[in-house]
């Protein structure tokens, strides 16, 4: 991959990779580090490597980097159920949805992020998560149902 090719195919993915990383690790600073690591690695190996789908490769690399970070943190089972404190009604939709997303189990969170935020088709999500389309639909459905429950709780009771 030439430098120009790298600039065109990889650099514009930065924000998308960051959003995905943040969804997985739940922290902005760690997400930035994970994305920087992946971009740096891709830059170093740009010569001699022939990556057909740079986006899929980068997304998978970021996912692996984030999972490694979660394993190191030993909290990959589930992030703590996030409660938005005592001002539920003041929360923007964005923060409410982010918190609800963070409270989901990792697989559901990944599937929902790729579908709802990045707009990936189901078959691409299945490939990224190394699963099949039926399983992705199950993850999406369970994730949305759980998010609805959490949002209902927070919006109705302001927890």
């Amino acid at each position: 991959m030439e430098q120009k090719d790298f600039d065109i195919r990889v650099v514009p993915l930065r924000d998308k990779l960051y959003r995905f990383a943040r969804s997985i690790v739940g922290r902005s600073d760690e997400a930035e580090d994970a994305v920087h690591d992946v971009l740096e690695r891709m830059w170093r190996r740009r010569e001699g490597s022939k990556i057909a789908d740079a986006e899929a490769f980068a997304m998978r690399s970021v996912r692996n980097a984030c999972l490694d970070r979660l394993r190191r943190r030993r909290d990959d089972a589930e992030l703590p159920t996030a409660l938005p404190g005592d001002a539920g009604s003041d929360w923007s939709d964005r923060e409410l949805v982010r918190r609800a997303l963070d409270a989901l189990p990792l697989r559901q969170r990944e599937a929902l992020h790729l579908k709802e935020i990045e707009g990936y088709p189901t078959h691409e999500i299945a490939a990224l998560l190394s699963t099949d389309e039926a399983q992705v639909r199950v993850l999406l459905s369970r994730g949305r149902m759980r998010m609805r429950e959490l949002l209902e709780k927070w919006m109705n009771y302001g927890l």
């Binding site: 990779l17 960051y18 600073d29 994305v35 920087h36 939709d93 149902m145 609805r148």
Partner: protein, 141 residues
């Protein structure tokens, strides 16, 4: 335009079940965003919040700031340089000590020279010391 409750309700259920197509999800998004808040059922309001929240998250950008690791290295380098400068200033600024009298450092060369006068009488013993050294050291042939 009248709000089609039945259609919106059906699309909400399909969306939550993950059986809605892309077109159906888009249609639901438009319906919920365009409708007045009071015509929506609680279920629809929750779906609307989810869809609006996801849309807002879609616009999130990676912050433009130097890498944290690089930042830490720069900080460490700055602290190191500052420490080296402080040590240098201390060393350069410290006066030369020519000797000590009663534990007090002598930094004035004239005072140090004056102090050496006290040791001049000891020169008388120099020859005796040299002789003693020769006698005590075995000769090697």
């Amino acid at each position: 335009m009248d709000f089609d409750h039945r259609k919106a309700d059906l699309l909400c259920r399909r969306y939550l079940d993950a059986t809605a197509s892309e077109a159906e999800t888009d249609s639901l998004r438009r319906m919920l965003c365009d409708a007045p808040h009071d015509v929506l059922t609680p279920q629809m309001r929750l779906c609307a919040t989810m869809l609006r929240g996801f849309e807002a998250l879609r616009t999130e950008r990676m912050p433009e700031r130097p890498r944290r690791r690089a930042l830490r290295l720069r900080l460490a380098a700055a602290i190191g340089i500052a420490a080296a400068c402080a040590a240098g200033i201390l060393l350069i600024g410290r006066p030369t000590v020519y000797g000590y009298i009663d534990g007090r450092p002598i930094t004035d060369p004239a005072e140090a020279m004056a102090a050496t006068v006290y040791f001049e009488p000891l020169e008388e013993f120099a020859e005796s010391l040299e002789l003693a050294g020769r006698i005590l050291t075995p000769e090697t042939h």
